[in-house]
Each structure stands twice: as C-alpha cells, then as structure tokens.
C-alpha cells in the first residue's frame, strides 16, 4: 500500500510522510493534505418526501485525520468526566455523549460558525465542536470560574454565542421551538445561514416540536431538525414510546432523511444536503441512527433496559472512531502508531485541562446576584435571610 504512494506524486507523499514521521515533536501537526478522496457511506440514505443525496462522500486526508482527532478528544473527555463524577467533583446531572461523537463532528464539517446549533442536555461534545475548550468544559462541570458559564450553569447549560451555539437545555423538547426561532431570526436578518436543532428520540414525541415544525413549514424557515436517535429515551426503548419510531418520517409534509449517525461522513453529507435544502425550501428532518455507550446519565448504569451484548455489539461493529481509524489505515493516511500517538496526545490534553480546571476557583459569593438581568435597574435581590444577605442588581 505504502509503495503505491511513493510511486505517485513525490511532493504529495513527501507532504504525507514528512510531518507524520517526525516522532520527536510533542504536538504532531495533522496532515494538511486536502487531496480529495471519495468514500462511500456505510449504508445508503433513506429518504421521506425528498430525493436522497448520493452515498459517495467527498473528503480528504486532512478532514479524516481531524475527524479522528476530534472524536478521540471527545471520547476521552466524556470518559474523564465519568471519573470526575464518580470522584464527586462533578455534581448533579451529567449526560455523556460517548458513542455519538460522529454526529457532532460530521455536522461541523458541513457547516460554518454562522450556522446555529442548539441542543438538549447531552451537550459537552457539541460545545467542543463549536469551538469550546476542554478547560471551559471541565471547569463548568466542576462549577468553577473558568467554566463556559462561569460555574453558574452546569453540565446542561453550556453556551457559546460567538460561535452561534445556543445551549445546552434542560427541558426535553424545548430546544426545538427555540431552534426554529433562531432560524426565523436568521431568515428575518437575511443571513443566509441555517439552524440545526438537535433532540433525542425521547423528545421526538413532544407536542411543541410539531407546533414549531408546523410554523417553520408555513413560514419556510431554514430550520433543520436533527433527531439523535440513540434508541432509548432515558430507559424507555423507542418502540415503547413512539407508535411510529421512523422519526425521519414524522414530519409528514416535511421531508426527512435517515442517516447512519455512527458514520461521520454520512453525517457530513446529510448536513450539507440539509443546509442546501433548508435555505431554499424550508424545514427538513434528519434522523441520526446513533448510540450512547453510557446510560442516560451518570445515575443510570444503562443495563437495566438494554443488554450488555447489545452495547458491546455496537462498540464492535459501529464505533465511529474505529470506523474512521480503519478508513485512515486502509487509505494509508497514517500508521497505527501515529493514530495511537494522537490518542495519547489527546489524553494528555484532557488530563492537562482537568488539572487546570481544578486550579480554577469557585465563583465569588457576589456572583450569586450577577446576571439575573442584563439590565438590573438597581432592583433588589435577596439571599435566604434577606436581613442578612441582599444585593442591588446592576
């Protein structure tokens, strides 16, 4: 395999081999090779009320290596969060995304930061995909000042407005009308951008989703509803919650596409297709067939309603990182050792971020009263004992 590359353009192979072969550098640069490669998605797309895009996806070595690195980072981050939670450094809710990384990563590859993303509470990786840092993630999870919400939000309330990431929402399904509102504003402002509103198979039955979809279709809003179907709404399997678990069809008059959510390239293709569609024709639904390895949250072992065989089966057959690893190796874009090195680097990045986050202090007590309003007007607010603790809101 390697020989065939040496035979071809020497400058390209030099490009490929030079940076990757230098083992000395601490921070290995990801290949910048953007020579197009065409790869077929794992399965063809299934469509509803529209013509499915081709299953041949254009990518390149740089993108595939970025996918690998980003997903490996997200995977490590979530597993580290698991440990921190068990060590009681993270409190309350913690909903982990490991297994679903391809959705976050494939989506980002198809869109820009002018497009908006809004999701529910399983938001750590989506936040990182939008440009959030590991420090902001871990510090927020531990309730520290360096957190993306300065410790005031917690796991479910990550936001990054400067990259058009609108959270991070704790109420199941509420983010869908909010996302359609973002799309409304984009159209109103003539921004030529779209909104991806993500929700789970559990939220897919929410009435407000259909209310918002109806309005979006009436008003031709550039809204893309993305059902991250990991097949379990908390502990309830999809077939127990939905009379019709064909979520991509639930839009009725709104077109839909069913996508292998464990295949980052399929996700990318679908999102690219959806964006073009939404800008011209209004809302569309994408159903991402995905899977979460963890339970619903840290208080759920995830095995009372599904078998360990099922979980390990998915890990064996469909893991998104393994899929990209095989692609990279089979196309000779990197060696196994190089990929393992990337994983080691990523692990170190995560460990460093955790160490830094632990150094970050908890918020000052005065922060209790900050940001209640954008404009406080000098109104008063009170602590538990108002004669002891009161503040004027700025």
């Amino acid at each position: 395999m390697a020989l065939s590359y040496l035979r071809s353009s020497s400058s390209r192979s030099a490009n490929l081999l030079r940076p990757l072969s230098s083992a000395a550098s601490l921070r290995r640069p990801i290949s910048t090779d953007t020579t197009p490669i065409t790869i077929e998605t794992s399965v063809p797309f299934t469509s509803h009320q529209c013509e499915a895009p081709s299953r041949s996806v254009e990518t390149n070595p740089s993108e595939l290596l970025t996918f690998f690195r980003d997903m490996a980072l997200m995977r490590r981050m979530e597993i580290a969060a698991d440990s921190l939670y068990k060590a009681k450094l993270i409190r309350g809710f913690c909903h982990l995304y490991d297994g679903q990384e391809a959705v976050a990563v494939g989506m980002e590859a198809a869109i820009t930061k002018k497009d908006c993303i809004i999701t529910a509470y399983r938001d750590h990786c989506t936040f990182v995909g939008r440009g959030g840092t590991l420090l902001e993630v871990f510090a927020e999870l531990m309730g520290r000042q360096a957190g993306c919400s300065k410790g005031k939000g917690g796991s479910m309330h990550f936001y990054k407005k400067d990259s058009n990431f609108y959270g991070g929402h704790g109420i199941v399904g509420a983010q869908v009308p909010l996302g359609c509102g973002l799309a409304f504003a984009q159209k109103y402002s003539k921004d030529e951008s779209v909104t991806f509103a993500l929700y789970g198979d559990g939220a897919a039955n929410q009435g407000q989703l259909f209310e918002a979809l109806n309005i979006s279709a009436l008003w031709d809003l550039p809204a893309i509803l993305v059902c991250e179907n990991n097949h379990y709404g908390m502990g309830t399997a999809e077939w127990r919650a939905a009379k019709s678990p064909a979520y991509y069809k639930r839009g009725d008059y709104v077109p839909g596409l069913k996508v292998d959510g464990m295949d980052a390239l399929a996700v990318k293709q679908a999102c690219k297709f959806a964006k073009e569609h939404a800008l011209k024709n209004g809302p569309i639904i994408l159903e991402m067939d995905t899977y979460r390895y963890h339970g619903h949250s840290m208080s759920d072992p995830g095995s009372t309603y599904r078998t360990r065989d099922e979980i390990s089966g998915v890990r064996q057959e469909r893991d998104p990182i393994e899929r990209v690893r095989k692609l990279i190796l089979s196309h000779d874009l990197a060696t196994e050792k190089e990929l393992k090195d990337i994983e080691k680097e990523v692990r170190k990045e995560v460990d460093d971020a955790i160490a830094q986050a632990k150094e970050s202090p908890m918020p000052e007590p005065s922060e209790l009263f900050s940001n209640v309003y954008a404009k406080g007007l000098g109104a008063e607010s009170f602590g538990a004992d108002r004669k002891e603790l009161r503040a004027t809101l700025a």
Partner: protein, 367 residues
C-alpha cells in the same frame, strides 16, 4: 375634531402632532384624551418604526387587526414579515419568539389572554427568564410577552385568572401592569427597549377607557422607568396599593373615603417585578396604615408580598394590621351576581380602609 386628531396622531412623528394639540388647547382647557387601546397601538407603532428588530407575533394580530384591536393597522404599515399571524400553538410560537430573541431580534409575543400563556409557561420561565443567569450573561433575552390579564366580564373560570403573582415570583423576569394611557405608552415602550424578558399584563376592560395624556406622553421618545410605582393620589391617613384596573377602583374608593374624613394615598404599582418596595414603605411610614388591592387570587398573591415587605421594613410604623383586598378564593363564576362577589368592588376597598383606620362603624360619639 378629536377623532381626526386621534387618527392623524397614530403612526406619525411628533412635529405633525404639536400644532394640532395646541389648537385644541386654545379651544378648551382639557388635555388630550387617549384610550389605553390607542396608547398601546401607538407605542407598538413607534417602537417598530424606531427599531427594525422589533416584530409582533401572535394569534390574529395581523389580518384580524388584533383580537382586541391593539395591533390595528400595523400589518398594513409594516407588512407580514414584521406582523406575524400564528397558528393556535402557544408553546410553539412562544418558543420561536424566545429563540428569535436569543439571536438578537426583539419579539413582542401576544397572548390572546394570559390564561393561554400557561401553554407556553415553560418557555417564559425556563427558556427566557433564566437564560441570562445560567449562561453568565451570554444569552440575554430581549422579549416582551403581552396581552390581557385578569378578569373581563362574564368570561368564566378559565378566562379570568390574574397571573401577576405567578410571573412576578420568578427572578429574571420583569412584570409590568399598566393602568392609564400614560402607563400603557410609557411602560410598553420601556418593555420593548429593555434587554430582559418582560411580562406585560394589560387588562381588557381598560382598553376602551380614556385618560388625559400630555405632550410629553405623546412624544415618541416617551418612556417610563421600570421598577417605579406612581403615587396617583397623595394622602395622609392610609396607603392603598393597587395595580391595573384596581387603581381606578382605589381612586374611586379614595373619593368616598374623603367624604368620611379619611385621606387615602393611592399607589399605582406599575411594576410588580421589580416591586417598588421603597415607595410603598415610605408611604406606609407616612400614613401608618396599609390596604393592598389586587384582582388575583389571595393566597401567595401580590398583596401578601407587599404585606411581608412592610412588616419586614416598617413594622414599627404600622398602627394597624395590613388589610388585603383580592379576588375571591374560588374559580371565577359566570352568573353576574356571583361574579360581582368574586371580584373586588369599590366598597370592599372603602370598608378595608376604614378597618385599617379603626372605623368600620361610626363611633357612637361621632354619630
């Protein structure tokens, strides 16, 4: 003449209005009159004209000209992009409004009555009110939720609830309750300009009432401060707090009390959150007696909060227990006589004020 003036005034800038008003002045000494409906309409019009990010959304706000004609003429003037008729789906369109506010637009979301806001209350509280705090200031929500609140006439239990206490208990919201036309204009303009979510509680029975409005009020830059109550009537003997329609009742009660030698101070709260505790307490420290009046259910109501505030801050100044007048502690009945018993009447306020002054029956010596 007055009718012509009113039509000309809507949607036009001040320079055109002034000469007409001064002509009026030369004919009579009465100030210009304006209905609450026209006040709200003109405020919406002016704010939409001043800021292209402001848009109106709700059931029947466009082609129907508004269920209560508050948005009359706005569709024609601003077009269907900015005046949006929605389906009857409060949860959906309230959420869409909040999402638009996240992005930076300034939505005015109308609920046909606030009874229907309960369908959307999760978006008002969890999506709007709390977002600025949870995001440590990244996500401000410059939205206004407005519509008629409280009892109308004969509309029954499901269409008569007052939501002031519920919304005003929630940190992150601002809750306003206009009474007069001046209130309606000034507070709605302030609400639309404010960067935080505002719940703007109007009252259907006030829409048709006329109030005098000065030149200052008619100016397109007119704005009232949020969080400040207005002393509608200065008095010495007892403080009566009220908001929305009950301010009118309180003023009528004050006229009756005056004949009995009780000089009541009437405070129009205007803002339930932030609540102007300092104006209320300053008044009670002067009069030493307090009657709170509201239309809504008594338990955990606005009067309960005012009473607690006065007990905490001005206990030594109270010469009598605080009196509360509120809607009856029952779902609103339909029959006219029962409805009358379920809503505060002027005589209820008079009676409570006299009790606060220890004068529920004339003293034998005074009789």
């Amino acid at each position: 003449m007055l009718g012509v003036v009113r039509q000309k005034m809507l949607g036009q800038s001040l320079p055109k209005i002034r000469p007409v008003v001064s002509v009026l002045r030369s004919y009579s000494s009465a100030a210009k009159q304006m209905t609450v409906r026209d006040s709200l309409n003109s405020a919406l019009d002016e704010e939409m004209s001043a800021d292209p990010k402001v848009f109106l959304m709700g059931e029947e706000v466009g082609e129907y000209q508004g269920a209560y004609k508050i948005s009359k003429g706005l569709l024609e003037k601003y077009g269907p992009e900015r005046v949006r008729d929605t389906p009857i789906t409060e949860a959906g369109f309230a959420g869409i409004g909040v999402g638009a506010a996240y992005y930076g637009l300034k939505p005015v979301v109308e609920f046909m009555t606030f009874n229907f806001s309960m369908q959307a209350i999760d978006h008002i509280i969890n999506s709007a009110a709390k977002s600025n705090y949870m995001s440590a200031g990244q996500m401000s929500v410059p939205i206004v939720f407005r519509g008629p609140n409280g009892a109308a006439a004969g509309v029954g239990a499901q269409h008569s609830q007052c939501y002031a206490a519920w919304y005003a208990s929630c940190p992150g919201l601002k809750v306003l309750t206009p009474y007069s036309s001046e209130d309606a204009r000034g507070l709605l303009k302030a609400a639309i300009r404010d960067p935080d979510p505002v719940v703007f509680l109007e009252n259907e029975l006030l829409y048709g009432e006329s109030f005098p409005v000065s030149d200052e009020v008619l100016d397109s830059s007119f704005c009232l401060p949020i969080g400040k109550a207005k002393i509608e009537r200065v008095g010495r003997d007892v403080t009566i707090t009220a908001f929305s329609r009950m301010v009118g009742h309180a003023l009528k009660a004050a006229e009756i009390l005056e004949k009995d030698g009780i000089d009541a101070e009437v405070i129009n709260l205007r803002s339930i959150r932030p609540l102007d505790r300092s104006t209320i307490n300053a008044s009670v420290r002067k009069t030493n007696r307090l009657v709170t009046v509201e239309e809504g259910f008594p338990q955990h109501g606005v009067g309960a909060e005012i009473c607690a505030s006065v007990v905490e801050e001005s206990f030594a100044y109270l010469d009598a227990p605080v009196e509360r007048i509120a809607g009856a502690d029952i779902p609103m009945p339909y029959a006219a006589n029962l409805e009358r018993l379920a809503v505060p009447q002027v005589e209820d306020i008079v009676r409570a004020a006299k009790r606060a002054c220890y004068r529920s029956v004339p003293l034998a010596a005074a009789a």
